[in-house]
Symmetry: D2
Subunit: 138 residues, 4 copies
């Protein structure tokens, strides 16, 4: 019943056109259960200083958290973001951006998740986000 | 020396291509000094349920906060977002989205701002965001 | 049916012993409907540098938000904090600390509030907080 | 040069009287480098519903993050909290509360940390917090 990473990618791209436009896709679920997603680098993500804009980083974090919900719950009606918080840690280079999502709480009514964003090839996270999502009734 | 709303719009669109793609513009500065910005409705902002996606709302809030910095400080090198927090309050209709930004603190090293987002024609905010920006040395 | 400021103070002090220990009280509701609360200065609020500690500021903001819920809804079973976010803006002097709370959203299931904290006699806020509270079923 | 857990406890209790009043202490640094702290249960931490109040949980998270700074940097002048964000996940029982802190970023000018709070004997976190601290010049 678990959705594959390509099924999750398709569901998100169909539901959220902007995510599709960025080239977003779910890459893998690692041994710790973290869902990894990738946003390919495109020039329109830049902002002055040659680094990626805040909104392009927030878009990846939000889509990756939604991917983690779909990985856990299967083909559910879309969860709604209730709140979202992000700390920007360093300026990402103009490269692909990766997100690794941990589920902190999966309750009946809401889910709380944490995303760490990495620049392709970088070891330290460039941003850290948390988000709460209200879940549709089962 | 104060930049006009169209000058601020141009600076943001030149610096942040994604903001330009959304049709973002600065509309006015009201009598209380709040900077108002508008993101025209486009179909790619939708998400399941016929409402606007979280990232499209976060993008408007972030660009509007940057507009408020430019309004206060003039043509400065771009400020960097340090942290951003948003509470989603209700589902915005598929219409233009407006942001009204208040400057809470304008220090030497950073600025803290608050944005309220409204659906065109709506009285109650659909989201409330705060953000901290590090400012370039004078 | 609206509770008086001293009734709200009593309810909070009875329910939350720590708030009572700080000397917290509700001072007034102003013409804009903002609920103002005060935390008298005490030496145990200090931290190195001669300024007030973060937790003593957070405690005031949280209690003041709860006061605003009681002002709006009357004698309800206590609301539960779901999330809380605070930006510290400047170092408050060792004086009384005031909080002014605005209700951003009062829904059926939750309330979202904003608190600005001021040092006694100061014009600019020393901290800005937002919080979401889940409300008990009516 | 690294401070022991009891030296860190002493520094925090001397600097922040409120932390001392709660009985706060640093318990250990685990193999992953996480700093664990404990806040002994006391009746004045209660709130209606028989659970711990939000401010008592925030106080532990803030003190534990400060402990993690002291563990990394040694006897530095106190760091100042810039922003703090917490998601409450479930109602903690009236027992000791534990905090485990991870350092997400230790930069020259600021540090970003994450704290997970646990009820004594519980497996799932009862709250998740992030905080940014500005560091004194070296």
């Amino acid at each position: 019943m678990t959705l594959s990473v390509s099924e999750i990618t398709d569901l998100i791209r169909q539901g959220v056109p902007l995510a599709g436009e960025t080239g977003f896709f779910v890459e893998k679920v690692d041994a710790q259960g973290r869902v990894w997603c990738r946003q390919p680098y495109r020039e329109n993500q830049l902002r002055p200083g040659g680094t990626l804009s805040g909104p392009s980083m927030m878009a990846l974090a939000d889509a990756a958290m939604y991917a983690a919900v779909l990985h856990r719950l299967g083909r559910v009606e879309m969860a709604l973001t209730q709140n979202f918080h992000i700390n920007f840690l360093s300026r990402p280079a103009p490269r692909d951006l990766l997100a690794a999502v941990d589920v902190i709480k999966m309750g009946r009514r809401n889910a709380v998740m944490e995303a760490r964003l990495y620049s392709e090839g970088g070891e330290d996270p460039v941003a850290h986000a948390t988000g709460t999502y209200s879940l549709p009734p089962a």
